[in-house]
Amino acid sequence: MLAWPLVDQMNPSGDTLALASIDVDLSKVIEGGHVTIKWRGKPLFVRYRTQAEIASAVKDDHIDFRDKVRSLDAERHVPGKPQYLVLVGVCTHLGCVPVFNEGEWGGWLCHCHGSQYDTSGRRRAGPAPLNLEVPDIAVLSDTKIKVG
Amino acid sequence: MRRKLSVIAAVLALGVSGVAAGSAAAAENAVLTHQTWSFAGPFGTFDQRSLQRGYKVYREVCSTCHTMNLLSFRNLGEKYGPFYDEKYPNPNDNPYVKSLASSITTIPDINPDTGDAIQRPGVTADHFPDPFPNEIAAKASTGGAIPPDLSVIIKAREGGADYVYSLLKGFDAPPAGLIVPSNLNYNKSYPGDLSSAWHGPKGSHLPPGGLIGMKKPLDDCKVTFDDGTGCTVDQEAKDVVTFLAWASEPKQTERKRLGMWVMIYLVFMAGLAYASYRKVWKNESHG
C-alpha cells in the first residue's frame, strides 16, 4: 500500500521500542511490600506476598470471576516464585491507577469508579471488565526478572 | 413564548455555571476556613509588605523542601511584585532584588575555566534553586512524600488561597482513636479518607481531614518580620499565602486593571452597536 509509510510513521519509533523491556531486581521488595516501577510509561506493581495472601488467592481460584481468562493464581504470579506478583498497575476499566491495600479483597481499589482487585490482581467488584494485566515475564536469575 | 425561550436561556446559563461550580462530592469532610484576601475579586490588589513578609517565610521555611522552579529572582522586582521599586522599572537593575539573589550562594553552575560543577551566588536571572537534586532525593529525605512545587500551587488546588491557608493552620492534634503512621501527620484540612485509620468509639463520625506527609511547617515566630509585624502562625500563614497567590500568577493585577478598561470599552461599543441597530432598522418592520 502506497499510504503505508504515512500510517506506519505513527507506530512506536525505535527509541520507544528500546524501552519496551526492563529488568527488575526482586530483592528490592520486602515481604508484604509493594513497589511501583515505571514500564512503558505505565506503572508496574511488584508485590512480595505473605503466605496468608498467597493462600487467600489460591483459595478463591475457582469462584466465578467476571474475567475467566488467566484467573488461576498459579497462572498469574512470577513463574516458579508464588510470593512475587508482577502486574500492570492500570485499571482495566478506564485506565486509572488503583491504590494498594484498599478495598475488601486484600488487593487494590481503583478510586475512579470503584473497581476492586484481590490478592492475585483479579477483578472482584466494580465496572472493570478484566483482571489486572500480567505482562510477559522471563526469569533471569533467583532475584532478577525481565518484564516485557 | 418569548418568556418561555428566555427561561430556556436562563436555565442553560444556570446549567453551565452550575456544572462549572457544583459537585456532589465537593471537598468532602475537610475543614475550609474562608478569609477575606486583599487580592480577591475584580479590584483585588496585593499588599506589598505582606508579599515581602510572605517571601521571607517561603525563603526561610518552605524552600528547605519545596521547589518553586517557575519563579526567578527578577520576578520579585516586577511591577505589582514584592520588591518592585518604581525607580527601577527593569527588575534586573533593582539593587534589593540583586542582593536577595546573591544572598543565595548555592546556585549550581559550571566553572567557566575548568568545566567543573560548582556552586555560585545567584543573579537576578536565576530561577529559585531546588533544595534537592531530584525528586527521588526529595522523597528519601521526607519519608516518602514528594513536596509539590509551589509556583502555581494556589491555582492547582480546589479552594485556592483559602485551602492553602486552612492547610497551614490545620495541624491539630489527632483525635483519640486515630492511628497516625510515623511518616504521616494529621491535618484537618487535607482531603483524604481516614476510614482505615479511625478506631474511635462505635457510631462516632469520622474526624475531618486526612493524613499528609508534611510536618507542621509554621510555629509562632519561626520567622521574624523586619517591619515589626507580629509573627504568629496566623500572620505567617496569611503572608505566605499572599506571596504564593502572587507567585501563581504575577500578571493578575495587570489583568484586572486592563480588564476594567476593556469592559468599559466593550460595554460602550455594545451600546454604540445597539444604537446603530435601532437606527438602521428604524423604519423597517421585523416581520
Binding site: G114 | M1, V19, A20, V280
Partner: protein
C-alpha cells in the same frame, strides 16, 4: 437566495478590471451585502456570526501561542507558564484561547438548539445541517487535542481515558491504541502528534464552514415562523440590516467573553490541570471540560465498555440523521406546542447529563439517611441517556405523526399584517 441575478455594479476602473478576472468582490457583494435575509430573524440567529468571530479568535490566538509553546512532555507545562509570565501579553493570549474554547462551545450549543427548535435542519437544509454536525465533531476533536497540550494532570489522564476507549473495539482495538499513542501509553509521542493535529483541524473546520455558508446561501436562512420568504416584502438586504444586528450580538457576546477572560479566567477549567502530568498518580476525579460532560455521562452510564462507547458516539450520530427522523409537516416549534414541551425536557436532560458527567458515578443525588437506598449519579445518567435516545428515535418521529399543530401563517409578514396572531411571538 442563490439563483437570483447579481446586482453588483463595479464603480471604478480597478473594480471593473478585478471583476473581469476574479469576481471576488462580486461574490462578497452578492453573499453578504445584497443577499436577501428574512426580516423576522431574532437574536438566536446572531450566533452564526458569533461563531465565525470565535473561530477567527481561536485561530489567531492559537497561532500566536504556537510561537511560544513547546510540544514536548518535559517542556510543555513550563512553556505555558513561560507564556503566562514572560511573553508580553502572553497571559492575555492564553486566557483568550482557553476561555475562547468554552465560549465557542456555548455559542455552538445555542446555535444547534436554535436549529432544533425552529426546524432549520429540515428539507431543503439537510446538507447544511449535516455540514454543521461535521463542524461540531471537528470542534470536539480539536478541543480534546488542545486540552492535552498544557500537559497537566487532567490533560494527561483525560487523554489516557479517551484513547483507552479505542481498546473497546474488538480485534483491532489494541493495535489502534498503540498506533494512536505512538507507544505503549500516552507519552511524548502522543503529545507531539496531538499538537500537530490540533493545529491542522481548525483549518479543516474553516473549510467546512465555507461549505456550510455556501449551502446556507443556496436555500436561504430559515426564520422563526418556519415559512419560506415568498416575496421581497419578507426580506431585507443582509447589509446593513443583518450586519448591524450581528454586530450587536457579537458585541454582547464579547462582553460575556471579556468577563471570563479578565475576572474569572479559570472558572470553567479544573484546578488539577495546574499540576504537571504524572502518569503514576491518578487524580481523584477525572473530568473532561464542561462541553463534553453530557457525553461523558452517557459513556459511563453503561457498564459494557464497547456499548458505552457506541452509545456516546451514537448520541451524536443521531443528529446526522435528524432530518429523516423528524416527520413533522410544520417546521418551527413556535407552532408545535407538544414538540416544544419535549424539546424543553431535552434541554433539561442535557443539563442533567452534564451535571452527572461532572460527578463520580457512585455518588448519591439524594439518599434516605446515611446508609439507605437512594438515587446514584449513575442511575440518573442512565435515565438521562434513555430520554436522549428516546427523544430522537421515538418521540421526534411519532410527534410528527400525531401532534396537533397551531395554524401556520402564510407568509413571514402576515403575523402582523393580517392580525392572525393566534401564535404568540416566540
Amino acid at each position: 437566495m442563490s439563483g437570483s441575478p447579481s446586482t453588483y455594479q463595479p464603480k471604478n476602473g480597478f473594480t471593473r478590471w478585478m471583476d473581469a478576472r476574479l469576481p471576488i468582490l462580486r461574490l462578497a457583494h452578492d453573499s453578504f451585502v445584497d443577499y436577501p435575509t428574512p426580516r423576522n430573524l431574532n437574536y438566536w440567529w446572531t450566533f452564526g456570526a458569533i461563531l465565525s468571530f470565535m473561530l477567527g479568535m481561536q485561530i489567531v490566538t492559537g497561532i500566536v501561542l504556537a510561537m511560544h509553546y513547546v510540544p514536548n512532555a518535559t517542556m510543555a507545562f513550563k512553556s505555558v507558564e513561560h507564556i503566562m509570565r514572560d511573553v508580553n501579553y502572553g497571559w492575555l493570549v492564553r486566557y483568550l484561547h482557553s476561555n475562547g474554547a468554552s465560549m465557542f462551545f456555548i455559542a455552538v450549543y445555542i446555535h444547534m438548539l436554535r436549529g432544533l427548535y425552529y426546524g432549520s435542519f429540515k428539507a431543503p437544509r439537510e446538507v447544511l445541517w449535516i455540514l454543521g454536525c461535521i463542524i461540531y465533531l471537528l470542534m470536539m476533536a480539536t478541543g480534546f487535542l488542545g486540552y492535552a497540550l498544557p500537559w497537566g494532570q487532567m490533560s494527561f489522564h483525560g487523554a489516557t481515558v479517551i484513547t483507552n476507549l479505542f481498546g473497546a473495539l474488538p480485534l483491532v482495538g489494541g493495535a489502534i491504541k498503540t498506533w494512536l499513542w505512538g507507544g505503549f501509553s500516552v507519552d511524548n509521542a502522543t503529545l507531539n502528534r496531538f499538537f500537530s493535529l490540533h493545529y491542522l483541524l481548525p483549518f479543516m473546520i474553516a473549510g467546512v464552514v465555507i461549505l456550510h455558508v455556501w449551502a446556507l446561501h443556496v436555500s436561504g436562512q430559515n426564520n422563526p415562523t418556519g415559512v419560506e420568504p415568498k416575496s421581497k416584502a419578507d426580506t431585507v438586504p443582509f447589509t446593513p440590516y443583518a450586519t448591524v444586528k450581528d454586530g450587536f450580538g457579537v458585541a454582547l457576546f464579547a462582553v460575556m467573553f471579556g468577563f471570563f477572560v479578565f475576572f474569572m479566567p479559570n472558572a470553567l477549567g479544573d484546578a488539577a490541570n495546574y499540576i504537571p502530568a504524572n502518569p503514576l498518580v491518578t487524580p481523584q476525579h477525572i473530568v473532561p471540560e464542561w462541553y463534553y460532560l453530557p457525553f461523558y455521562a452517557i459513556l459511563r452510564s453503561i457498564d459494557n465498555k464497547l456499548l458505552g462507547v457506541l452509545a456516546m458516539f451514537g448520541s451524536i450520530g443521531l443528529l446526522f440523521i435528524l432530518p429523516w427522523l423528524d416527520t413533522s409537516k410544520v417546521r418551527s416549534m413556535r407552532f408545535r406546542p407538544a414538540a416544544r414541551t419535549f424539546f424543553i425536557f431535552f434541554v433539561i436532560d442535557a443539563l442533567i447529563l452534564g451535571w452527572c458527567g461532572h460527578n463520580p458515578t457512585d455518588a448519591y443525588v439524594f439518599r434516605v439517611g446515611a446508609e439507605g437506598p437512594g438515587l446514584t449519579v449513575k442511575v440518573l445518567a442512565q435515565i438521562g441517556t434513555f430520554y436522549w435516545f428516546v427523544y430522537f428515535v421515538a418521540i421526534t418521529p411519532l410527534l410528527g405523526k400525531f401532534e396537533k399543530t397551531l395554524p401556520v401563517p402564510d407568509t413571514i409578514s402576515s403575523p402582523v399584517l393580517s392580525g392572525a396572531a393566534t401564535a404568540e411571538k416566540a
